[in-house]
């Protein structure tokens, strides 16, 4: 379970100190949680806290009972992070090599690692592009490959920051289906309200605070009103 207790994130900017998240307290036991909110509302920072990419200025973040401040590496092992742009996330030239890189933490023997990487990619229908340059993949294939590299180390939680933003309709649908098939706890920040409606719980983040929290129907309606869209 993910737990945030009085979490504030502040940053120094040229214009002075800025509060990005303001005293957030919540518990996320649900398997599928969506974060919605405007650009700069703080939802990406919320997600980055869960993986330890951002540190709280005040308060406490816990994942499965582990305090992020004291166990950052262990928290990162439990929480996989999917970025908006897979090209920033994928470090190796081809999907199979990138999955191998993820597996290098858990499988020492090269031949076993390679075989496992192929198996993982095949499970997601990516075996035909396993040795294709990332630059020659479609946006959907890249994002799916990024997801496989994250899943390779069997995280308990997947945090994804607007993973469908750069994708066309077909690829976005493909990725949504992939996320729907995951057995892990999934926390996704998204602007895709139709997708958010499929989640168990939706948090509306606005100006660094949780403006609404609950079932998708009511929270998404609230967010639409907040954004002046109906």
């Amino acid at each position: 379970m993910i737990k945030l207790d009085g979490v504030t994130v502040a940053a120094d900017t040229p214009a002075g100190p800025k509060t990005i998240l303001d005293a957030i307290t919540c518990q996320l036991p649900e398997q599928r949680v969506a974060l919605v909110g405007g650009n700069g509302s703080g939802k990406s920072t919320f997600l980055r806290l869960v993986n330890g990419l951002a540190a709280p200025s005040a308060g406490r973040v816990e994942v499965d009972g582990l305090d992020l401040a004291a166990n950052a590496a262990e928290v990162r092992r439990r929480v996989g992070f999917v970025f908006t742009d897979p090209m920033a996330q994928l470090l190796m030239p081809t999907p199979v090599e990138d999955v191998e890189l993820s597996l290098s933490r858990v499988i020492r023997k090269r031949s076993e690692r390679r075989a496992e990487a192929w198996r993982r990619l095949a499970a997601w229908g990516l075996e035909s592009v396993a040795e294709t340059s990332l630059y020659d993949l479609s946006g959907g294939e890249r994002q799916l490959a990024a997801l496989v590299t994250v899943l390779a180390v069997d995280p308990a939680v997947i945090a994804a920051d607007e993973p469908t933003t750069l994708l066309d309709l077909r690829n976005a649908r493909r990725l949504r289906e992939a996320f729907a098939a995951l057995s892990q706890q999934v926390v996704v920040a998204t602007h895709d309200l139709a997708w958010a409606a499929d989640f168990e719980r939706v948090l509306v983040i606005d100006a660094g605070r949780i403006a609404a929290d609950g079932a998708p129907g009511e929270t998404i309606s609230f967010y639409r009103r907040l954004a002046g869209d109906g």
């Binding site: 993986n51 330890g52 990419l53 950052a72 590496a73 990162r76 092992r77 996989g80 992070f81 970025f83 742009d85 920033a88 996330q89 994928l90 470090l91 190796m92 030239p93 081809t94 090599e97 191998e100 890189l101 993820s102 290098s104 933490r105 090269r110 040795e131 294709t132 340059s133 990332l134 630059y135 020659d136 590299t149 994250v150 180390v153």
Partner: protein
Amino acid sequence: MAKADRWFGTYHPLGSAVERWSVGVKYALLLGLSLPCFIIQRWPLTSAALLAAAGLLLAAKLRARQALGLAPGFFSLVVVLAVFHAVTGDWLGGLVVAGNLVLALWAARLVTMTTPASLLIDALVTVARPFSRLGLQPERFGLAVHIMLRSLPRLSGALAGARQAAAARGLRGHVGRQVTQVAVQAVGYAQATGDAMTARGLGDGER
């Protein structure tokens, strides 16, 4: 960006004999072909090494254009250097300098285009392992070198993008602005790469 990716070349399995050679042999070839030419600086040696490198690249079943082609920026640099030497009265020296640069690129491609990146990293890690007693972490070293190489085509692509963006706005010749734009992108790219590595726990423990 895809063009920029092929600056040094990316490995694609083609089933050639060169591909099956060990990484050590390929690194030895890289050094054996290029170092003597840079030290001795004689055109017969450079010509022979160029022929050998081209022959090996073609023997690796790579397409000639892909293996031997030069990016416009690199080609311009080579020409400028050759012309400079020619103007100063040493046209043969200019040819050797230009030839050696092309040779270095082709010899590097002989390694990068016929070897999976993971094998290259492993080879670097093996070479760096004796230095672990001095505090160097071989796994991080191997990955850092790979990330550095990965960033070069990305930056080259960013420069091309900045030029196109400037041209689209009718702002030709503002080199300073383009360099600033690329520098900002480079910082952003470095930040994103660092985040990706941290998120994947690559800095947290041994590979």
